[in-house]
């Protein structure tokens, strides 16, 4: 409940507790009459919840049982990167070198404890000192239009590359790098999404990165939420694999990395259920950056400690949620584990509404078919689509 609701509820119950006599209005009347000042601030993610495991499916116990968060990136066995936490630190926040160094140190400490997660970075980190050697997978970000030789980017021996897709030149770059680079190549398609996904995967990219913040600023996604972007991105990858099952040489399906409005454990789980495989996580960068605002800036090691501790807490949260949903593997989550209390969220992410297992669109479709058969009418598919399009706004 938000603060306004809390105020009303407390006031109403206290009035009852004080007088013991009936009130004039109920809590719901007051809540209903509240000006909707909070509606703008509410994120559509808040209307989406997951359904937990109870009698019909026993939950796992994250304190006593193993919950797997492992994921491999790379379509071919020969060029895979394994992560123990499905997160890649994603730098869409401008940070200085010392902040990046702190993230690097934190990732090393995490890797030492068996918590390997990746980093996407354009800046080179000096790892010449023995105690500073990188122990986590680095995805080197290749700046757009710097179509230099691959050697330039291999100085830091990255395990993977990240290319930014802007136009046909980016595609040529991908083709060139694919021939020479053996590790996974992820392509950031945020600026052109949802176009070119198929082409990019055909040219050998191991996955795509979609930043929901950037995509929702595009004209095509105006007014839509991250949920719609993730849903479309997953469908784009699935479409690529449609009809390819027999001829498919992939050992592993292409990875969908989602960044942007996915910065808490709850959102990470929901994004994974809608279709993300890995999350481009920016909160670690933000924590490192926050040191810049301190009156007494800490040293790199202390900042690294902050990032390290935060990530351990986040890992605990991410492990606990699939366990409570009855899964021992984070990657078994699917949209059928979600429910929503918003028609908008149901339409954007094809998420079932609360109280049942059908989406809003399916419910409308069912009413259409029910009524048609009741009246002895047969609607052709075009006519059904017309009604649906009108009702669900597609």
């Amino acid at each position: 409940m938000n603060d306004a609701d809390k105020f009303i509820i407390r006031k109403a119950v206290l009035e009852l507790a004080k007088t013991g006599t009936p009130r004039f209005t109920s809590i719901d009347d007051d809540v209903r009459n509240l000006p909707k000042v909070n509606s703008k601030a509410t994120n559509l993610w808040d209307y989406v919840t997951a359904i937990g495991a109870q009698l019909s499916r026993p939950p796992y116990d994250p304190y006593r049982e193993t919950i797997s968060l492992n994921i491999t990136i790379g379509r071919k066995k020969s060029r895979r990167v394994c992560l123990n936490i499905p997160l890649i630190i994603y730098g869409n926040i401008a940070i200085n070198y010392s902040s990046l160094e702190a993230v690097h140190l934190a990732l090393n400490r995490l890797a030492e404890k068996g918590n390997v997660l990746g980093l996407i970075s354009e800046i080179e980190i000096n790892t010449t000192k023995d105690n500073n050697k990188r122990k986590y997978p680095l995805f080197k970000k290749v700046p757009f239009y710097r179509n230099d030789s691959l050697d330039e980017y291999q100085n830091s021996c990255p395990e993977g590359l990240v290319l930014e897709y802007k136009d046909q030149a980016s595609l040529r770059m991908l083709q060139n790098f694919r021939k020479e680079f053996d590790g996974p190549i992820l392509v950031d398609v945020s600026e052109v999404f949802p176009l070119y996904t198929k082409t990019i995967l055909e040219e050998g990219a191991d996955g795509i990165i979609v930043d929901t913040d950037k995509v929702t600023k595009n004209e095509r996604y105006k007014g839509k939420h991250a949920i719609a972007v993730i849903y479309d991105a997953r469908n784009a990858i699935n479409d690529y694999y449609k009809g390819r099952e027999e001829n498919d040489n992939d050992d592993n399906i292409a990875t969908l990395v989602i960044a942007g409005d996915v910065n808490s454990a709850g959102k990470i789980v929901k994004a994974a259920a809608v279709g993300a495989n890995v999350i481009g996580y920016s909160t670690s960068m933000l924590i490192a950056r926050s040191n810049m605002y301190s009156e007494k800036p800490s040293d790199v090691s202390s900042i690294a400690d902050n990032v390290f501790r935060h990530m351990l807490g986040t890992k605990g949260e991410i492990k606990g949620i699939p366990a409570a949903l009855g899964y021992s593997d984070f990657h078994n989550l699917s949209a059928s584990d979600l429910r929503t209390s918003s028609i908008d969220a149901s339409l954007q992410g094809n998420i079932p509404l609360e109280g049942g297992d059908r989406t809003y669109k399916e419910m409308v479709e069912e009413i259409v078919n029910e009524y048609a058969s009741e009246k002895g009418i047969t609607l052709n598919s075009l006519e059904t689509q017309q009604v649906l399009r009108f009702m669900v706004g597609e």
Binding site: L16, T19, G20, T21, I93, G266, S294, R339, S341, G355
Partner: protein, 510 residues
Amino acid sequence: MPYSKDILELKRHLLRAAESSNSYFDLTKLIVDVRKINDSEIPYSGLGARSPNDYFPSIKIIGSTLRSKENDDFTTYKNIDTKFTLGGRYSTNLITSDVPFFVSGMSYGSLKLPAKIALHLALNRLAKEGIKVIMNTGEGGALPWELYGSEESWSNVSKKRHENILSYADRLLKEHHLESTDRDSLFCRLYPLITQYASGRFWKDPSYLLNADGIEIKIGQGAKIGHGGLLPGPKVTDLVAENRGIPSYKAAHSPSRHLDILGPEDLVAKILELREITDWRTPIIVKVGCSRVYDDIEIILKSYADAASIDGFVGGTGAAPWELRDIIGINTIPSLKPAREAIANYYSTDNKRDEFRLIVHGSVWDSERIAKCIALGANGVGIGTGFLLSMGCTLVQDCYTNVCPAGLTGSYEKLDIQTSVNGIVNYVKGTLLELKNIAGSVGRQSIHDLRREDLIATDELTSLICELPLVNGRTFKDPIKEMVKTVIDNRKNLKEHQVDEYWRMKKKVE
């Protein structure tokens, strides 16, 4: 929680970093990140989740009123039946309450002793005034006066055990500076007690089951579905630990599932075991958090239980992992339809469906919400936060700490027991009068006669989910049916190339 200076500084810096970066950042969850930075632990929170749409305000009871007439004596509808009975499906005993709502499970440990005593004394006072209200112990065991509040309960207790019980009670009262409390009035229970049989098994002897009027098997709760109970270390004092039979000052994490209930057949075996122990006398309830409600209720119906209890995800708790609390489960109102459907389908061949009781919890604080739940198919309603509010809860949601501004879940020195007792008594009486007024004003003789027909929805989603008519008398299905009719008309009247244009225009008009 009064956060340390370090935490607040971190928060301030993180806020500035977030504001100055162009990326989206959820500022409402900033403190969660700061707490993780501080101690690398999973942040906890108390009470219920924040649901942006709990449906209650979108439902109206047609023609109802809380206060029958201005300046009357509030007894216009005094003969309205509000009684609630539980049991009788398999149990030989019935639990009877004079109100259709009761105190949800709030354990000793999660609540401080003075708050538990206030609840005990208030329910006793109400019982003396003819209003019996059921109390649930919560999963942390029961207090001595709750279990041994009747002469009968002492009958099988050895002298040694008798002394131990009284000694423990003395130590409890002493720790909380309540030595002056009258033992005779304390060791007297006049209200029905339901004890909770949870995965942690925090009880030490069979009297916990034998002296209770009802047993609730807790599979899960709305605030932390699939997680298991949790009492943070600082709240596990020596006496709380003694009551639960666990080590002091160590967090009590109950398993996320009963280790001997992994499926429907295990539940049947467990209930039969409890039936044997209690000689089939005691009503048994099975409580689940709202998730796959239809499937869960179907299992409970086939398991020799007398009642099912469902807890919506706004349902409160003493402590739950913050993120988990906020994202798992569904709201109370949408759970009612699948629950009722499961019951109706199970009893499709006979008319005994009334013997099975459905109890709901979660985001129910006042009479109107209770009435809405009943009209949508619930038989009874569990209230936790409402009772805390009547004792002065300020909803700061720090119940997981040992610091509570109202002195309910921490800082026990501050709670005035007598004021709290008065608050609870007034809250129950006022709510009862309001319930009578609601039922009476819509022309019902009993609160349980409230029906779906007494409700309307004020938005499309609520109408769809609850199958209620909208305010304008139309249902959600009406515009869809009209669309289908239009499609058929278009088939006759419009040529193919005109159809798209027609829909575009129609949409524009709408």
